[in-house]
Amino acid sequence: MITIAGKKMGKSYNNFITLRQFFAGDHPLLTKAFSPMTIRFFILMAHYRSTVDFSSEALEAAEKGFQRMTEAYARLQKITAAATSTDEVHSLVAELRQHCAEAMDDDLNTPIVISNLFDSTKAINSVADGKATISEADLKELRDVWQLYAIDILGLQLAGNQQSAISNQQSAYNGAIDLLLNIRLDAKRNKDWGTSDRIRNSLTELGFKIKDTKDGFEWSL
């Protein structure tokens, strides 16, 4: 059951918000538009037999959580394998599949599956930041578990398969920023610090967050 201000949401109570209103942000109770995947993630963050109280704030929290998932998934696709795994990384990867399976077997406990996947983002981030390493076998296992539980079972459309939903304008924009940052990488390699700093500082001024990584860069707005 979903409640809104403590009351069941339903047609007969005339207190419902349609999915289309969520997707367009077109309702007085909504602070903004929420994507279908945010709605899906919001619902999966609670066990199916529990009552969920809807609020715009709760949806915003779900949106941030989903954003973290997509970022972690994107990093997982980018990171590269090393000869061996750091101990913490290896023990996490070794248990992840089992933990996710146990949660699903326990009356479809999706919030626990999500929290297990979140735990694994720490390992993904340390590898991405060069603070830990992951072996080829562990990297394959980690990617397989994310594919099975996040994408196939929870049905979350993370990054890659969400591309089609992004408008042409958005992808052109992303491409332009990537281009600028690649020019900056080249400038750095050529020790052209003037150009490199100019790009970095200007983008930062415009509100971009730029992060240098072992394999290149990441940015967000």
């Binding site: 289309r20 279908p36 995947m37 709605i39 619902i43 326990d106 479809l108 196939d152 049905g155």
Partner: protein, 278 residues
């Protein structure tokens, strides 16, 4: 091993399919007279997770989710207008236009939520013949009665033979105190009786009166089939609706329990059922 909550026993139990390797899932779909809201998204996503998980475990899953395109009356059940007919009247559309419009939008919304389509998507209007036979079977067993041309479930009679209220955990006394006063109550023996087949408002023709009568319902399946088929051929959905208002899939919690009890009684056993609540 998958453990899943059983509403009947109120315990988590190890999931064991009746036929090894196969699972049948029946999920109550939308009544297509308006856009899906958050309350519809939740059961749709929950059963999508179940479908996806069972599939990933290697089961062959037959997933049936219906479209209720006829027979969902205003005010739960017994009085009032068919919801789709009412919407059509207000929008000056054919009921079938309302049905198609909101079915398309429902599919689109479900796709956006990445809810996989079911294996079979039956329409209530496509199973009128089976529904007539079903109501007839209940009448023949003595668990229903005809009043003023409509057929009602005789809940008290049924409760003598079967544990009515076992799924919802409510006994008849609880149900009595909870039942709202609605128009048309005077036709029923008890307020907790519910309509199985409703006489349409403004019925005129003797043929249609006969249709709603017990005598008609006792007719052989073949005759019922002929009658329905004729209705479909000669008239629009709207006209056939006013003569065959069908009440069988009502997605309130109490009705879910009712329909499940009836289904068990009649020998078809859905072992996973879901319902969207409206």
């Amino acid at each position: 091993m998958l453990e899943i909550y059983n509403s009947l026993t109120r315990f988590k139990e190890t999931f064991k399919p009746l036929h090894p390797g196969h699972v049948g899932m029946y999920v109550c779909g939308p009544t297509v007279y308006g856009d899906a809201h958050l309350g519809h998204a939740r059961p749709a996503i929950t059963f999508d997770i179940l479908f996806r998980y069972l599939t990933s475990l290697g089961y062959k899953v037959r997933y049936v989710r219906n479209i209720t395109d006829v027979g969902h009356l205003e005010h739960d059940a017994d009085a009032g207008e068919d919801k789709i007919a009412k919407k059509a009247r207000l929008e000056q559309l054919e009921p079938m236009e309302v049905v198609q419009f909101f079915t398309n939008r429902y599919h689109h919304d479900m796709e956006a939520l990445n809810v996989l389509p079911p294996s079979i998507e039956p329409h209530a209007s496509g199973h009128i013949i089976e529904q007539i036979a079903f109501v007839q079977a209940i009448l023949d067993k003595g668990y229903a009665y005809v009043s003023n041309g409509s057929v009602y479930m005789d809940v008290e009679r049924y409760a003598k033979d079967y544990p009515y209220g076992k799924l919802s955990g409510r006994n008849l006394n609880d149900i009595v105190t909870d039942t709202r006063e609605l128009d048309g109550q005077e036709e029923k023996k008890h307020s907790y009786d519910f309509a199985l087949w409703k006489k349409a408002a403004g019925l005129q023709s003797s043929a249609i009166r006969r249709m709603a009568s017990r005598r008609y319902l006792r007719a052989k399946d073949s005759r019922a089939g002929t009658w329905s088929a004729r209705l479909w051929e000669r008239s629009t959905w709207a006209r056939s609706l006013t003569s065959t208002e069908v009440v069988w899939i009502l997605c309130s919690r109490t009705t879910r329990q009712k329909s499940l009890r009836v289904a068990q009684h009649s020998g078809t056993k859905p072992y996973i059922t879901g319902c969207t609540t409206t």
